[in-house]
C-alpha cells in the first residue's frame, strides 16, 4: 500500500477510537455536572412529589453505566433517543439544527477563508507598508472587540436605522435560498469579522517565515513578480500552520457560535446545546457533544492529512 493511503487509513481508525473516547468523556462530564434534570424542567415551583414522579418516568433512578451503554448501542443504530425535557425525537431535532448551523458556517467560511488568505498574501506583498498596517489594525480591532458588541452595533445601524437586513435571523423550511441568505447576512458578517484576523495573521506570519529561504531568493532572481513568488513558492510551503489555524476556525464556526446565535436568534446547534445543558437533558447533551466531537475530529484529520500531503519531505519519508 502507498504510505500515504496507509497513513490516511490509520488516522481514520484513530479518529473512530477517539470519537468513542470522547463520548465516554462527555458522558462522564454530564454526570459530574451538578444539578438534576427533573428539577431543571419543573423549575422553582415544583414539589418534591412531582420531582420524584418525573425522575421515575425519565428512568433517572437506573445506574449511569447501564444508561450510557444502552444509549451508545442505540446511537450506533442511528437512534439518538428522545429528549428528556419535551419528549421529542433527538435525531430529528438535531438534523434540523445541524443543517442550520452548517448553512451559516458554510457561508461564513466561504467568505472568510479566501478573504483571510488573500489579505494575508497582500500583507506579505506590501509588508511594512500602509496596506499591511491597515489590514493588521482593522483585523486586530475586529477580533478584540467582544462579538456581541459587533453584533449589537451592526444590528442597530443596519437593521434598525437603515432597515437593510433583518435583526432576527430566523430561517425555516418555507423560505427560499435567497430569503435565507438575506436573513443570515448580519450573523455571517459578524462571524467573518471574528475569524478573519486569526487566519489572516497566521497566513502572513507563516509565509514571512519561509520568505527567508534560499529557494525564494532563487525564484526572485528568476525575475518572477513578487506576488507570484509569494503565491507560487512561499504559500505552498507555509501551508501546514495555515491549514491548522483554518481548521481551528472552521471548528469554531460549527461549535462555538452560541453568542451569535443568541444575539441574532438563529436556530443553530449552539443554542440547542446550551438550552439542554442548562436543563441537564443528558441524552441531548451527549448527542450534541458527539456530533461536535465528530466534526472536530474530522476537521482535524483533514488538516493533518493536508499538512502531510503539502510537505514533500513528509510525503516521502526517507
Amino acid at each position: 500500500m502507498h504510505p500515504v493511503i496507509a497513513l490516511v487509513a490509520q488516522r481514520f481508525v484513530l479518529g473512530l477510537l477517539l470519537l468513542f473516547a470522547a463520548s465516554a468523556l462527555i458522558f462522564a462530564g454530564t454526570m459530574i455536572l451538578p444539578g438534576d434534570v427533573a428539577q431543571s424542567i419543573l423549575g422553582q415551583s415544583a414539589t418534591p412529589e412531582a420531582l420524584e414522579n418525573m425522575r421515575r418516568e425519565l428512568g433517572l433512578n437506573e445506574p449511569a453505566l447501564q444508561r450510557y451503554f444502552s444509549w451508545l448501542f442505540n446511537a450506533l443504530q442511528g437512534d439518538l433517543g428522545t429528549a428528556l425535557t419535551n419528549g421529542r425525537d433527538i435525531a430529528e431535532s438535531i438534523s434540523k439544527r445541524l443543517g442550520n448551523t452548517l448553512f451559516l458556517a458554510f457561508w461564513a467560511a466561504l467568505i472568510s477563508v479566501p478573504l483571510a488568505i488573500f489579505l494575508g498574501l497582500l500583507a506579505v506583498r506590501y509588508k511594512d507598508r500602509w496596506p499591511d498596517k491597515l489590514i493588521s489594525a482593522v483585523t486586530l480591532a475586529s477580533i478584540s472587540i467582544p462579538e456581541f458588541l459587533i453584533g449589537y452595533v451592526l444590528m442597530f445601524f443596519i437593521s434598525v436605522r437603515l432597515g437593510w437586513f433583518p435583526s432576527v435571523a430566523m430561517v425555516n423550511d418555507s423560505m427560499s435560498i435567497l430569503e435565507r441568505l438575506n436573513a443570515i447576512a448580519l450573523p455571517v458578517t459578524v462571524l467573518t469579522l471574528v475569524v478573519l484576523a486569526h487566519m489572516m495573521r497566521m497566513t502572513r506570519a507563516a509565509i514571512l517565515n519561509v520568505m527567508q529561504s534560499a529557494y525564494i531568493e532563487t525564484a526572485e532572481l528568476k525575475g518572477l513578480s513578487s506576488f507570484k513568488v509569494i503565491y507560487r513558492h512561499a504559500f505552498p510551503n507555509a501551508i501546514a500552520p495555515i491549514v491548522n489555524v483554518v481548521m481551528l476556525n472552521l471548528a469554531y464556526l460549527v461549535v462555538g457560535v452560541v453568542v451569535i446565535e443568541v444575539v441574532f436568534v438563529y436556530p443553530g446547534m449552539g443554542q440547542y446545546l446550551v438550552d439542554h445543558v442548562s436543563k441537564r437533558d443528558v441524552p441531548v447533551v451527549q448527542a450534541c457533544g458527539l456530533i461536535f466531537a465528530a466534526v472536530y475530529i474530522g476537521l482535524n484529520m483533514l488538516a493533518d492529512i493536508i499538512s502531510i500531503l503539502a510537505n514533500p519531505r513528509l510525503r516521502h519519508p526517507k
Partner: protein, 271 residues
C-alpha cells in the same frame, strides 16, 4: 530606541501604559473598585473623568482595577499555555512515533469536547480562585498551541540541519531549544499575540457564565457586559472598556510584529 520602528514604539508605549496602570492601580485610581460614588451612567465630568457605570461606580477606577485583573490573568494564562503547549508540541514532533501519537490524540480528545461543557464541569468541581482560573485557562489553551507548535516543528524536524544535529548525537532537549525553537518562533509569536486577546475575551466569557472574577472586582470584558444594555444608545460606559481591549490588543500585536521581524532577521535572512 532609534532602531525601533514607529509602529512598535506606539505598541510599546500603550502596552507600557496599560501594564504600568495595572501594577500601580491602587495608587492611581481615584476611587475604590466597588465604591458607589454617583448616579447610574453619569457623563464624564471633572470628578469622574470617564463618567460612572451601570450602578454608579467611577468608571475610570474600575477600568484601572479591571485592567489589572485582565492583564494579569491573560498574561499568566498565555505564558502558561505557551510554555506547556510549545514544549510538548516540539517534543512530539522531534521524538515522533508513539509518544507523538499518544500526545496528539490526547490533545485531540480534549479539544473535541465542547469548551462550554468542559469549562462548566471543571470549574464546578473546583473552587473558582484566580490561580485556578489561570491554570484551567492555560491548560485548555495549551492544546491549541500544541497543535500549532507541532505542525510547525514537524516541518522543521525533517530539515537537513536537524538531521545533522541528530547524527551529531545531540540530545532531544538540545534539538528542541537550539534547532527547532529559533526556527519556529515567528508563527508562534504571531499566535501568542492573538492568544493573548483570546485569553482576555475568555476571562469575560467566564465571568458571564458566573465563573470568572468575583464582584466587586472587575475585568474589562466584564465591564463591557455590565454595561451592554447601553451600547446601542451610545452610553460610553460600554464602549470605553471595549476600546481599551482593542487598543491593548493592537499594541500587544504591534510589539509581537516587531519581535517577529527581529526573529526573522536573526535567522540570517536578508531581513
Amino acid at each position: 530606541m532609534k532602531n525601533i520602528p514607529i509602529s512598535a514604539q506606539i505598541g510599546l508605549f500603550f502596552t507600557g501604559i496599560y501594564f504600568f496602570m495595572a501594577i500601580f492601580a491602587p495608587l492611581i485610581a481615584p476611587y475604590g473598585v466597588g465604591e458607589i460614588v454617583g448616579d447610574v451612567w453619569e457623563p464624564a465630568s471633572s470628578s469622574y473623568l470617564l463618567g460612572t457605570d451601570n450602578i454608579g461606580r467611577d468608571l475610570l477606577s474600575r477600568m484601572i482595577y479591571g485592567g489589572r485583573t485582565t492583564i494579569f490573568i491573560a498574561t499568566a494564562g498565555t505564558l502558561l499555555s505557551f510554555v506547556i503547549g510549545s514544549i510538548l508540541g516540539f517534543f512530539a514532533a522531534v521524538v515522533g512515533g508513539w509518544a507523538d501519537q499518544l500526545l496528539s490524540r490526547f490533545v485531540d480528545l480534549i479539544m473535541s469536547i465542547p469548551t462550554l461543557i468542559f469549562a462548566l464541569v471543571v470549574l464546578s468541581v473546583m473552587p473558582v480562585t484566580i490561580p485556578i482560573l489561570i491554570v484551567v485557562m492555560g491548560l485548555l489553551d495549551s492544546t491549541r498551541v500544541y497543535r500549532l507548535a507541532r505542525a510547525v516543528a514537524v516541518d522543521i524536524s525533517v530539515m537537513e540541519y536537524v538531521e545533522a544535529a541528530r547524527l551529531r548525537g545531540e540530545k532531544t532537549g538540545w534539538i528542541i531549544f537550539r534547532e527547532i525553537l529559533p526556527n519556529a518562533l515567528s508563527p508562534l509569536i504571531a499566535e501568542m499575540g492573538l492568544r493573548f486577546i483570546f485569553m482576555v475575551l475568555f476571562v469575560s466569557t467566564l465571568s458571564f457564565l458566573g465563573l470568572g472574577v468575583q464582584p466587586p472586582e472587575a475585568d474589562w470584558g466584564g465591564i463591557v457586559k455590565e454595561n451592554k444594555e447601553g451600547i446601542v444608545y451610545g452610553i460610553p460606559a460600554a464602549l470605553i472598556p471595549a476600546f481599551a481591549i482593542a487598543t491593548l490588543a493592537i499594541s500587544v500585536n504591534l510589539v509581537a510584529d516587531w519581535v517577529l521581524n527581529r526573529t526573522t532577521s536573526l535567522k540570517g535572512g536578508r531581513g
